[in-house]
Symmetry: C3
């Protein structure tokens, strides 16, 4: 039940260590607080292992990676592995530079990720070792549509096998897959792409759901992705005619803050393949 | 009079140099502008002494400390000391890692702080050289309640003696103490803890109040803490049923922007011990 | 036509590489998305040349410069020059420290900027190699008024000659000049100065306009500056009595999101000298 996943987050206040980009970090912290989690950001090699140790899980996002923070990503990820705690990778902009693609790949080689979340272009670049990523947004040619859905589901499952991780590939249609099962989620709105960091926010949220639901990681990941999409719908419903993307950003986090299990269960639109 | 403290900030436009974390830095800048101050952020060792020199005071926050910015914190703090300007320490997450605890302690040894602001767990970790800090939020066991208030007031005054600084220990009940006097402030709302950075914002605000009120640092600090708590109450009063923590964040800064001396004086709820 | 400039941004989705400060970076990303552009932030020397290569233009902002990011600024600027793509400089706080003034000057010597945007104090510091900048806000003595306008227009044109760049000098009255022509723009509101980063946001927006309007850089720059000022007016019109600078920040970005060519054309208040 998605509702149970959400309620576990509220009941257990998962502490999430994020090594994330400085563009959207404030929104990541606020959405973690909104869902019932507790955020801590830390990226110095002198403390990340210790911080990872006191946290329930680690969220690694390469959105503004640097030589300095890359070191911290490996150290924190490995420590979380050693402690058997969930670790998530958000390979922001993989395909946009060799540094991003290589770093994301090397992270998947040296750290065992519980989940990897990105748009389809980023995940393709991660798998292929390069790609046509147009900056941090998905390439139109890659977009998951009803026509390409079967192929995309197969791709997600294959990637899940390859990385031994839950794959969350988000876009107009969201896919959350392990080796055998794929949730196809149709919540969300296109306008979410006009806000910076809805993907980063989801990665933070998803990490909190993984930490608070240790027994059912796939369902927890699907619940988090659904919650984010539903928040996009609910938030849009609260928009005034003069509101734009800045206000929409707040309304989505607000919707996560107000969402309970029943609302999530009632608003979820997905199928399992 | 708290009203005079507030009005001095509006009249004098204190320029505040912040070396602060990248999570909440935007909100710190906006609340400084909201209260009537002027923010400048700078953390490179190549300029922090010069920036500290042109500013009225320095706000040092270790929320996302790194080897690079730690150097800048010491240099800026010492320069402000040499110029007899107010310096504030916000030991974010002291107790969560040895790096944070040690850095905060070493700062108190090498820089003379006008004020130190943190939650009770952070201040206890600072004093004890370790602690049970759960990330960046106060540990429940540490919370200042009506029952533990006498003890907490004595702790705050003792810390004030030890550091030669005003101690601002904020939470459900806020304490602002020097060696002999402690303001016990009951403004604020529990929901403020569901927004990232209300503490960081208060540290910025408090530094501005110290700069603009050189003759009465303790009262200025108490006025700033009260203003923040009152803004939390006023901001909550402007919330719609679908609003959550993202909108609440804006409403609090908005309330600081709109607050005048009479509102602060009328809304303040405190006693002096 | 300013309307065409705006519509070109919406039609062409310019990808803008920003090396900018961590204070206002989220707002820069959101205003780029609001206007129809696409943001990518990247400041590591290991990838900035590659990121600059896939982008339409580069926005360089020294607001929280460090030794590390300064290297990236030079590398990205030079690469954009080599590819004949627009590059903008925002010399935040030039005059406030020798590091800022020298870095901004050296950037203008080694990188050919398409446009330079700052407040009058920053631009004077850039030209003079020092100055009286009070932090990151313009010095009152420097303010462009109706009385000092002729002199300021001449100054802007002379700076445009010196740097071979469009100069956008913004404040109560905005000037956008090349060697021979100066747009004098009277849109905007004084309250915009009470929000952190409206200047940084404009620099991002302006870069997007330059990228999307390769044939008419001066008009595009003037259109962007006018759009920002008009958004400040429209956003203010949507303020409730309890709203302050935090909400105003969102309303301005929202206004950019909603603005179409007709609204910009109809609301623009400028003369050409």
């Amino acid at each position: 039940m998605f509702s149970t996943c959400l309620e576990n987050v509220r009941a257990r206040t998962p502490l999430v260590h994020s090594i994330t980009n400085y563009v959207t970090v404030n929104d990541v912290a606020n959405i973690l607080l909104a869902c019932g989690g507790s955020p801590i950001m830390s990226d110095d090699i002198g403390e990340v292992e210790e911080i990872a140790s006191i946290c329930g899980g680690v969220n690694i996002n390469i959105g503004t990676l640097s030589q300095r923070t890359i070191l911290a990503m490996f150290a924190a990820g490995k420590r979380a592995n050693a402690l058997s705690r969930p670790v998530l990778l958000d390979p922001v902009g993989a395909g946009a530079s060799a540094l991003r693609t290589r770093t994301a790949q090397k992270l998947t080689e040296e750290v065992r990720f519980t989940a990897i979340r990105g748009n389809i272009s980023e995940i393709k670049a991660l798998v292929a070792g390069g790609g046509s990523t147009k900056g941090v947004d998905a390439d139109v040619a890659d977009t998951v549509t009803e026509e390409s859905l079967d192929e995309a589901v197969a791709f997600a499952k294959a990637a899940a096998v390859r990385y031994g991780a839950i794959m969350a590939i988000t876009g107009a249609i969201d896919l959350v897959a392990d080796a055998g099962t794929c949730y196809v989620i149709r919540n969300g709105r296109a306008e979410m792409g006009r806000i910076t960091g809805t993907g980063c926010q989801l990665s933070g949220l998803l990490t909190a759901y993984l930490v608070a639901n240790p027994g059912g990681a796939l369902e927890a990941a699907a619940a988090a992705v659904t919650a984010m999409g539903l928040a996009g719908e609910l938030g849009w419903g609260n928009m005034a005619p003069t509101d734009g993307n800045a206000t929409y950003r707040n309304r989505i986090i607000d919707a996560i803050y107000r969402m309970d299990g029943a609302a999530l269960e009632g608003g979820a639109r997905y199928e399992v393949r």
